[in-house]
């Protein structure tokens, strides 16, 4: 049951901070997999660990892409295997134009004509970018920058697209739009791993959901099942089931997850 991405028991430290405490998961080829969790749970850390962005990490465990170990490789080597990453907070090049960003997204590719076509595809997903093609990215709005970051990642023609909170700071309409586009990208054959605070949206487009707490996964399942789960409803979807008479039951249930 090897997936496209298999993460087994990874542990990640930031110096002395023990951030990921033995996490395992697998992303099936062709799926949309969502990781949910509260602030500081370690979601971004997991993605950074996969991308090789944290020096000398993971401390323990293995990460395999398409059956080949990729842990402890340089980020550029991991990218070259076909993993594109849209980091939290966009990380754009402020003084490069939109067009230059898309060229940078295709940095590892050699096929010039293919690159031209794919720039066109990105413009079809995000028509605003076409209108801003020669504008410096630093002068784009937050939402436009997010689209640019996704567009840049698509230029790699990745097999796996990793997105860290694509909805961050976007208006509700734009969130819906971005999620629709993510779904479309997935339909065109790209596997997607998604980290989100917007649990409702994430569970509605994903097939598998994972819930992370304090550096460990506490729940895994089909997204539609998670959406019906009592605890998930209460803690992540913000739907209160009947209020318990005393607060302790909630405490107990949370405790049992760890």
């Amino acid at each position: 049951m090897a997936g496209l991405l298999d993460v087994k028991n990874i542990e990640t430290y930031y110096d002395l901070v023990y951030a990921i405490r033995g996490a395992s998961f697998s992303v099936e080829e062709g799926s949309i997999t969502a990781i949910l969790g509260n602030n500081g749970a370690g979601k971004s850390t997991i993605l950074k660990t996969v991308m090789g962005l944290i020096e000398d990490q993971p401390d323990k465990g293995s990460i395999e892409f398409d059956g080949v170990p990729i842990q402890h490789q340089d980020t550029d080597a991991i990218v070259r295997k076909g993993i594109a990453y849209v980091p939290e907070g966009r990380e754009i090049f402020k003084e490069l134009t939109v067009h230059e960003h898309l060229l940078m997204g295709a940095y590892t590719r050699k096929d010039r004509s293919g690159i031209k076509e794919d720039i066109e595809t990105v413009f079809q997903y995000f028509p605003v970018l076409r209108a801003r093609v020669n504008q410096w990215a630093g002068t784009l709005s937050g939402g436009e920058q997010q689209m640019l970051a996704i567009g840049r990642a698509l230029m790699l023609k990745p097999r796996l697209l990793i997105l860290d909170e694509p909805s961050l700071g976007l208006s509700p309409i734009l969130v819906r739009e971005i999620f629709a586009i993510i779904k479309e990208i997935n339909k065109s054959g790209t596997t997607i791993l998604l980290v989100e605070q917007n649990a409702n949206m994430a569970l509605s487009i994903s097939s598998t959901g994972l819930i992370l707490e304090n550096g460990r996964f506490v729940m895994k399942g089909r997204s539609e099942d998670l959406r019906e789960d009592k605890d998930v409803k209460e803690f992540y979807l913000g739907i209160k089931s009947e209020t318990s008479a005393k607060g302790y039951q909630r405490w107990k249930r949370k405790k049992a997850w760890r």
Binding site: L53, R80, E91, F93, K94, Y107, R152
Partner: protein, 291 residues
């Protein structure tokens, strides 16, 4: 009148070596945001390397200079790889101190190996060979330096504007994490940058050394080149070059009409003035962060 024109012409001539050093500093600053204070000494040792090939190995000038350029490029790459990259969690201040350290080491090596006495480099163009246009004289070597400075400026400008590697260099400077996640080997980019920059500096060194050669010969051009780079906004190649010529000319006029003793100080008065009135440099075209 002739005096004035002559002074401006000589100012342009000195400005050319400032321009070359300024270009060299801008290249490194563009990718790593570090002002490289070892720039002058890297050019120095490359010049002495050429001298050694010429005198001890009796190589032909062109071969010796080509090898010196190669040496300069390799030296730049080596310093980035072996020294700067070793800095754990580097910050700009630490990096500056490292470049000053490199400067002192090279200066020590050159003084020890070649001695402190003045020399001149044998060169196909005699440094005092001049052309006369009316009453104005132009040294042929200065013309060569001018052409090299402008030529390199154009080539480098085109390189950063139009080549893929140039784009990757700009990207690396602006956001190295983002550069890594699109697959840029940022370490290698930095190394290449140091190589190119060292090469440009060596052009300055080799063009100065037919006139005078001693361990401190690069101090003045390096500091003035740095001043020009700062005036030009630190990331602008044409900016650094224009500022270098301004410095060269103003300095020469000041020396001619006001005070020869304070001639070199003028450059720094100008920098202070520029930094007071336009801190981002005269020619910077920077995106200013919206608050």
């Amino acid at each position: 009148m002739t005096d004035l024109i002559q002074m401006i012409v000589s100012g342009i001539a000195t400005g050319s070596s400032y321009a070359l050093m300024g270009l060299a500093m801008v290249i490194i600053y563009k990718t790593s945001e570090v002002p490289n204070f070892a720039q002058g000494e890297m050019a120095l040792i490359s010049s002495f390397f050429a001298m050694m090939l010429l005198t001890s190995f009796n190589l032909n000038v062109y071969l010796a200079f080509s090898l010196a350029f190669l040496f300069a490029a390799v030296l730049g790459c080596f310093l980035e790889f072996a020294v700067l990259r070793r800095a754990k969690e580097p910050n700009v201040l630490g990096m500056i101190v490292i470049t000053i350290g490199i400067e002192m080491v090279i200066l020590g090596v050159v003084s020890w190996k070649f001695g402190a006495e003045q020399k001149t480099m044998p060169f196909p163009i005699d440094p005092y060979d001049s052309l006369f246009i009316g009453d104005i004289f132009l040294k042929k070597l200065d013309i060569l330096t001018l052409v090299s400075a402008l030529g390199l400026m154009v080539v480098l400008f085109m390189f950063f504007r139009f080549s893929k590697l140039g784009l990757a260099m700009k990207a690396t400077q602006q956001n190295s994490v983002a550069a890594r996640i699109v697959g840029v080997r940022t370490n290698r980019i930095l190394m290449v940058t140091w190589g190119i920059s060292s090469l440009v500096g060596a052009v300055a060194g080799l063009l100065i050394s037919p006139t005078i050669m001693h361990p401190y010969m690069m101090w003045d051009p390096m500091l003035k080149g740095f001043a020009a780079a700062v005036m030009g906004g630190m990331t602008s190649l044409p900016g650094a070059v224009v500022a270098a010529y301004m410095l060269g000319i103003i300095e020469n006029l000041f020396g001619g009409y006001i005070s020869i003793e304070f001639k070199t100080v003028v450059a720094f008065v100008i920098i202070v003035a520029v930094l007071c009135f336009k801190p981002s440099g005269l020619f910077a075209r920077h995106y200013v962060k919206k608050v």
